[in-house]
């Protein structure tokens, strides 16, 4: 039995030691490397881009419209408001009317003098029938200069009435020779001859015998603004130079020539003055180096009848083919308007302070055009380093981008991509293998052969070290006249293949 116990105890000790572990480090991680060979192909982008999406990234979208056939057109529309208004026709300027007179007295102590100071507000262009004054000052002076006796003189005018229709009445005396009147809401109505009369009732206070008096009268109008006038107008010619600005963000475009065909001009007028005729002498596109191109060869005559509440079309003109080779910033118009072309024969005309002539100019450039070697170049910030650092991508042995483009646009495209380090000036040019996308001139989609662009570690470093990306597209219609419409687009399929063999952490 002892032998069995010794044997058993020994066996158990062996079991105990064999089943207990020596000190062994297991699952003690300090990983710096993962052995993994991999090759992933991922489609990234598969979408179509039309003109409207391209332009959505610019501020020029509001210039782009489509016609009933879906053809895009550039439309520049601008209003020139209050080109002609009442002050162009008639004003009561600051002026003074003077008179001195001698009157033979026929009755004492009170006598009446008609026509103390007749004066005329009409001009050679306007025979005034009535003027309602908005604001202004009239300063009236009256003095009997021939004697020193006391007197009172009341000057009145039936031609000048206040808002209630009460005629003008101002009283002077030997001690008060001058008075000032606020002419707001006063109406001036000359008689049929156009004359405004001031008459006086004078009462003298003297025991002396007076047979005649000498008087002095001044009437001064200052800072008068009018509510309205009624009168007969001569035909008045008014020259107008107006510019309609727009800011097409074409700073990124450089081109030899882009030709637009079938451009059109529409003129609309809002006229609350009176009948007006006009001649547009010049209508010109302007750009960085003015002028760019005249849009009309011959002056255009337009009639602008009364249309006080809304714009109505006055003229529509086909414009010349336009060839531009620079940025555009405005359309300028030079014209002459003749207000009330029938002149005095037209009879009485009423205009008020709100009456004016406004013009709306709309120029349409359908994208019926040809493009000769235009270059679009845009520089955008390279934010890739915010998402990736070289550590995260250094495990990638090779990145291959696959581009496939199906072009429905009727122009050739040649893209180019460069990465710029603006501090060092280093430029990394991405090798697109001379990618050239042909235009679809027959409405048949053109599929380009897929281009494969490889990037290795050095390329990745240069890309991540750059802060700018320069995108350049050469655009050309190869001498063809093309139309750009909303059925055209470019389909871009972009995929990436990533190869890695060891991932370092």
């Amino acid at each position: 039995m002892n032998k069995y116990r010794i044997f058993l105890s020994s066996l158990l000790i062996i079991i105990m030691f064999s089943t207990s572990s020596c000190h062994d480090k297991l699952f003690d991680f300090n990983i710096d490397n993962i052995d993994a060979d991999g090759n992933w192909g991922i489609p990234i982008l598969n979408g179509t881009i039309g003109i409207d999406q391209l332009l959505n990234n610019t501020d020029s979208m509001h210039y782009v419209q489509t016609d009933e056939n879906g053809v895009f057109k550039l439309v520049f529309e601008g209003d020139a408001e209050n080109l002609v208004h009442m002050s162009n026709i008639f004003n009561i300027d600051n002026r003074t009317f003077d008179t001195t007179g001698v009157y033979m007295i026929d009755e004492l102590p009170t006598f009446h003098i008609d026509q103390v100071l007749p004066f005329n507000l009409s001009t050679e262009d306007v025979i005034l029938k009535e003027a309602v004054i908005k604001s202004g000052i009239m300063t009236l002076y009256f003095n009997i200069t021939s004697a020193n006796f006391a007197y009172t003189a009341t000057l009145t005018s039936q031609n000048i009435t206040d808002a209630n229709g009460t005629p003008l009445s101002m009283t002077f005396s030997n001690t008060q020779h001058q008075q000032t009147l606020n002419l707001s809401n006063y109406t001036v109505q000359p008689d049929f001859t156009g004359i405004i009369y001031l008459s006086a009732n004078i009462t003298v206070n003297t025991t002396s015998q007076v047979n005649q008096i000498t008087y002095e009268c001044h009437n001064q109008f200052t800072n008068c603004a009018l509510h309205s006038i009624t009168g007969q107008l001569r035909a008045i010619e008014i020259p107008i130079n107006s510019a309609f600005g727009f800011s097409l963000p074409l700073n990124n475009f450089h081109f030899n020539n882009i030709s637009f065909n079938n451009a059109k001009l529409s003129l609309s007028e809002k006229n609350s003055l009176c009948a007006i005729n006009g001649t547009i002498n010049e209508f010109t596109l302007f750009g960085n180096q003015p002028p760019v191109a005249p849009l009309i060869t011959n002056p255009i005559t337009i009639n602008l009848p009364l249309s006080p509440n809304q714009y109505t079309q006055a003229a529509e003109v086909n414009l010349l083919p336009i060839h531009i080779n620079q940025n555009l910033d405005s359309i300028r118009m030079n014209c002459n308007f003749i207000v009330n072309p029938d002149g005095f024969a037209a009879g009485d005309i009423y205009v008020d302070e709100n009456s004016s002539l406004s013009l709306r100019v709309k120029t349409e450039f359908p994208t019926n055009l040809s493009i000769d070697n235009a270059v679009y170049r845009d520089t955008i910030d390279n934010d890739l380093h915010k998402t990736f650092n070289f550590g995260t991508i250094q495990s990638i042995d090779l990145l291959t981008l696959r581009f496939a483009i199906t072009n429905l646009f009727p122009f050739d495209l040649t893209p180019s991509i460069d990465f710029l380090n603006s501090q060092t000036g280093e430029i990394f040019h991405v090798n697109l293998n001379n990618m050239h996308i042909h235009g679809a001139y027959n409405n048949t989609p053109i599929e380009s052969a897929p281009a494969y662009i490889d990037f290795n570690h050095d390329d990745a470093k240069k890309i991540l070290n750059s802060d700018k990306v320069i995108l350049t597209f050469r655009i050309d219609t190869n001498g063809n006249d093309v139309e750009i419409n909303n059925t055209q687009n470019v389909r871009i399929a972009l995929g990436a293949k990533i190869s890695y063999s060891q991932i370092s952490l």
Binding site: T19, F27, I34
Partner: protein
Amino acid sequence: MKKILFLIFVSITALGLNAQDGITLHFMRLNPYAPYLNPSMHLQYNGYVGVPGGSNVNASIINTSARYKTLFGENGDGTITTVKLNKFADQLSRKQNMLNSNISFNIIDFGFRTKPIFFSFSYRIRIDEYASYNKDLFNLPIHGNMAYVGEDNPARPDLRINTNVYQEIALGMQIDINSCLYIGVRPKLLFGLANVKTRYANATLYTDPEDYTMRMNYNIDASIASVIPYSISRDADGKVNISFQPKDFLKNWQNAFKNVGAAIDLGMTYRINNMFGVAASVLDLGFIHWTSYCNQVTGSISETSTQDDDGHFVFDGVTSEDLAEFMENPRELSDKIQEIFPIEVTETKAYTKSLASRFLVEGYCNLGKHHRLSALFQGRIVNKQFIPSFTVAWNGNFLNFFDLCVSYTMAKRSYTNLGLGVGFNLKVFHLYVATDNVFGFINKKSIQRGILNSHNANVQVGLVFDWGQTQERRIERKTRRNFEEITD
């Protein structure tokens, strides 16, 4: 006193080790747990009692592919510095890689003989986990989709899981029909504790070699049940959160008996003559009906996504508007992915799942009274997959108390399983240790490393009290003792 201390020491030692329903143990004829794989096996005792909670703690791991040395590279001091995904992916089996683990421990077990029947009773907790996956599951993320280009070469990752945690109350009966034929039946009452089972979890991915267009599909249908309340939710980032509420379970501990099931083990042994015999058994033929906190996890391509005629989601790139949106707001991308690849978790009322059954067919040849050669074929059916193995073994009994067994097992992708079992029958208790794969522990650094690097690792150690060796055995021992007295 010494005997008691020795007993405690061995019990503690036994508790610290793992054991399994292993093959090697089955051939050790003196071991009271040998009939676990065949309830018809004739036990040479009149009764036994296991140490409560610790007589038969079993654990095994089968890991065909994800081994420690395959996955990790270490520097001189044992620190893992490299993860060897290439090596791991390249050595995977194309169709079936397994990571299975089985743990069980007896709470109470005993047996006794009332001629001609041997009754046995056991109450134990079992954890059976089966996971199998194919090569594509890991090869695709490691080597990328460009390894699967073309219409006839899709990636098809597949994962199958069948995990059961349950209580098993078994009442066994082994009946000697006659001197040649023994039968055994062991009906079992089961109470489920947790279950995760996939009906399917797979995907298909085609990649065009020219423009990398992907066509993909996936299907997930899994059932989850647990007696411990849990919730599955998804946060705004799409991350899945699972939280358990064990306190709620303690308040409603009766739920531990809510998921009822039944199973049966059947066995038959036929002694052709004194030399040869055959045996067969079927184990764990049964099911559990799960009713507590059942959820179903499903997923397939959303019907609103772009699909081809075969119902695959087609991805050939995003539009320029979507790309700009995703770059500006990455959450939009994750939302879109969740929309196309939804995973739904819905409460279900109840479901029934079968257990992973196994069958064994055995033949033996007695070489005298003390030696036996056996050959055994075993098959498991798990997740609609068949897992076979074949074992040959020699068992010898010495000096009336020493039981030795050496076995060799061939399994799928594993041909170096040398088993060894040693048992000591010391009057009233039986102490044993056995393993199906000695090489699973041999490692110059540590046993744990050996386990992590082996195809399968299991150890069976236990302590059980037995009594009443059968008449045949007693006579044999008495004869031998008389002979020894005479020679002394």
